[in-house]
């Protein structure tokens, strides 16, 4: 692929061509609703953990779908499984199961 005569800072760009989508694929297999996200942010807005620490469920969902999984294990560990996100999601996404399966994917794939 032609580099178009300029380059973006390596760590900054979302390198879709080379990113690893194995976690996204695992989650999609067990909880397909995670692909329905439109990024409205209600989940993060209501999240019990998000007010206490730098935890953002919407961002996690988005980044996995882009294949960006650095630091993911540390992030999903913060979820209290309280279920508020699921109660507000307008698309009806099974958000808690997304987190469950991310954890399983991380442990199965021995990733990051």
């Amino acid at each position: 692929m032609k580099d178009w005569g300029y380059s973006i800072l390596k760590g900054r760009q979302i390198d879709f061509e080379n990113n690893d989508f194995s976690i996204a694929e695992f989650v999609a297999q067990h909880e397909p609703s995670f692909k329905w996200c439109i990024g409205c942010g209600s989940c993060t807005a209501t999240c019990s953990a998000a007010r206490l620490t730098n935890f953002n469920p919407r961002k996690i969902n988005l980044l996995i779908q882009r294949g960006e999984t650095k630091g993911l294990a540390e992030e999903v560990a913060k979820c209290m499984m309280c279920g508020k996100c699921q109660l507000v999601c307008p698309r009806g996404i099974n958000t808690r199961n997304v987190i469950q399966n991310i954890k399983r994917a991380l442990n199965t794939c021995h990733a990051l």
């Binding site: 019990s48 294990a73 560990a77 209290m80 499984m81 279920g83 099974n94 808690r96 469950q100 954890k103």
Partner: protein
């Protein structure tokens, strides 16, 4: 000495079974929780043992609980279990009467009709013979129903059958063959020795007409012995392990053992007692309203027994407890499911380092915890605050700004250690408030506080606390004149055995309407934090069905005492759905202080005049 070669398969089967059972039981019993052996020791010579004997008789033989669920199914199990039991008992008595000795070869009563060829036309032996034939007939009727139900489950009122594994199928075939073969063997013998009774004799005479019964009878006795032996040997490798194990379970349970947060030998015994009757499939709303017949308890337990726990299946349970209430063996199905989730879930307790510690907490007499869900249903906590203020309670709304979750949702997903972190954090703050009473309006939090927090203070759900306020005359509630139906939340009702208190509260100022599916039989709203993997459309179907059921009652308002239930039902309900706190707050009698004392004064004056 009574002997014939054909007794060997049966004898061998019995010996192998005894040895295998002994091994298994010793392994499980050596793996009990600390303190369990003491419990057994303390209770083994008490009246509890007699209760256990009675329960074994009522449940393992007569299958009383199964009868209550379904008469046909109950009869089927009873005729097999109790019938076989009676064959053994009457057979033993028969041989004792015949030989005058109690201790004969242990296979002797089983093959009595082969060894004793004398016909008896009168006397006790005639009676015994007839009793044996009658009991065999009862057992055979059960077998017929059992065979038919495999092909037409509707006969026993069940919508589905439990699917079988190969080991189960072999055991089942052997079991089905035992009694027909016994009938044929005894009848063939009666055909040439005339030692049969009202069923075996005519059949024997019929066979003798055109078959060489003497030779044939030997064949049948061999086949009978083999099928018996095969069944015995297959017991430890099939669902029929439940037969001996359930008896052991009943004794242990009556002596006070149960499955808590650790999986022990007792838990193993519980699981092995599952008879795969399938009643859990029928009571499950995911089956009746969601068309899912794959993840019910019977399949989950089978997954466990064959060491192939599937995470999605294990996660797919509402944990509503309907199956636990209906289980005829009395297995604590809900707790077993939660325990196995420890294996299928990955937890990271160290992830909760961010929880704030040593925050200043105001002092109060009563601490109120609304719970995470309540923030999405603000009327509940607003109503509670209004009530606290009207009753002049010195209270602290601990999670007014936000909650650290009580920890139960984490526990329900199998993350026990992670849950403990949240518990520690909240516990600290509750204790720091110095309160003597903890009140919560969420049943999920309530169960968590009661079971995992180990608080030395009084812990109450608001359905228990509010009637107390009325009794103490700290608040007064005016009659509403409305018809109200109450929906039992799973965690409050089946989960915590609180059915009466919310009803007492509601009846005090409303016209409470009963429903058929209420209390232990209430439906789950579908909201369930316990089910992690259920598909959202299926969840909606269950929520809608429960909402419709409640709307079918002759009531103007649907009352509940759980924020999750409120949201789930309200989504699909035409009638308004209100929490009990809202109803109390809306009907509070607000009398200014000056008028109250004036009223008191007037009442006193009235009494004095009279």
């Amino acid at each position: 000495m009574h002997f014939s070669l054909f007794v060997i398969p049966f004898t061998a089967g019995m010996i192998i079974l005894t040895v295998l059972l002994a091994f298994r039981y010793i392994k499980w019993l050596s793996n009990l929780e600390a303190g369990n052996l003491t419990k057994i020791g303390l209770n083994i010579f008490s009246v509890k043992t007699l209760y256990a004997v009675r329960e074994v008789f009522m449940e393992c033989l007569l299958h009383r609980k199964v009868f209550k669920t379904n008469r046909m199914l109950g009869y089927m199990h009873m005729s097999l279990a109790f019938g076989w039991f009676m064959l053994i008992v009457i057979g033993k008595l028969e041989t004792f009467f015949y030989t005058g000795k109690f201790a004969n070869e242990f296979y002797y009563p089983v093959f009595f009709r082969f060894f004793e060829l004398t016909p008896h036309k009168s006397g006790m032996l005639f009676v015994f013979n007839a009793a044996m034939d009658f009991t065999l007939l009862v057992v055979l009727s059960g077998i017929v129903i059992a065979i038919l139900r495999r092909f037409r489950p509707k006969i026993t009122g069940m919508k589905k059958n439990t699917k079988h594994s190969t080991g189960d199928r072999l055991a089942l075939t052997a079991l089905w063959l035992i009694f027909p073969l016994r009938l044929l063997a005894e009848s063939a013998t009666a055909g040439y020795a005339a030692n049969g009774s009202f069923m075996t004799q005519p059949l024997g005479d019929f066979l003798a007409f055109f078959l060489p019964v003497q030779t044939l009878s030997i064949v049948f006795w061999w086949m009978y012995s083999i099928s018996l032996g095969a069944f015995m040997v297959s017991i430890p490798f099939s669902r029929y392990m439940h037969i001996p194990t359930e008896i052991l379970l009943i004794f242990l349970r009556n002596w006070g053992l149960k499955t808590n947060d650790k999986f022990t030998g007792f838990s193993e015994i519980e699981i092995q007692s599952c008879s795969r009757c399938g009643i859990c499939i029928d009571t499950c709303q995911m089956n009746s309203q969601g068309n899912n017949c794959t993840s019910q308890m019977v399949y989950f337990l089978r997954d466990y027994r064959y060491n192939q726990l599937r995470p999605d299946l294990t996660d797919n349970c509402l944990l509503c407890g309907r199956c636990t209430v209906a289980c005829p063996v009395g297995i604590d199905l809900t707790q077993q499911r939660i325990l196995q989730r420890k294996k299928t879930t990955f937890e990271q307790p160290e992830g909760f380092k961010y929880l704030p510690v040593n925050q200043p907490v105001a002092k109060a007499d009563v601490v109120y915890f609304a719970g995470c869900m309540s923030h999405l249903s603000p009327t509940i906590s607003r109503s509670m605050e209004k009530i606290f203020k009207a009753a002049k309670v010195n209270y602290l709304f601990l999670d007014k700004d936000e909650s650290v979750c009580c920890g139960r949702p984490l526990k329900l997903s199998g993350q026990f250690e992670a849950a403990k972190k949240l518990v520690e954090n909240n516990r600290q703050r509750i204790i720091a408030s110095g309160a003597k009473t903890l009140v919560t309006s969420c049943p999920i939090c309530y169960k968590s506080f009661k079971e995992d927090y180990h608080l030395n203070i009084e812990v109450l759900h608001h359905s228990e606390y509010l009637p107390g306020l009325i009794l103490q005359k700290r608040i007064s509630v005016l009659p509403s004149g409305k018809k109200v139906v109450f929906h039992d939340p799973c965690e409050l009702g089946r989960g915590s055995d609180i059915y009466i208190q919310p009803r007492i509260l509601l009846k005090h100022f409303n016209n409470l309407v009963p429903m058929i599916q209420e209390k232990e039989n209430s439906l789950c709203c579908g909201g369930s934090l316990g089910n992690l993997s259920m598909n959202p459309d299926e969840r909606c179907a269950i929520q809608k069905a429960t909402s419709e059921y409640l709307n079918s009652a002759d009531a103007e308002i649907i009352a509940t005492s759980c924020p999750m239930c409120k949201k789930s039902i309200a989504q699909f309900s035409d009638a308004p759905v209100k929490d009990i706190a809202e109803l109390v707050a809306a009907n509070l009698e607000t009398m200014p202080e000056s008028q109250k004392s004036l009223k008191h004064q007037k009442e006193k004056e009235m009494i004095e005049i009279v």
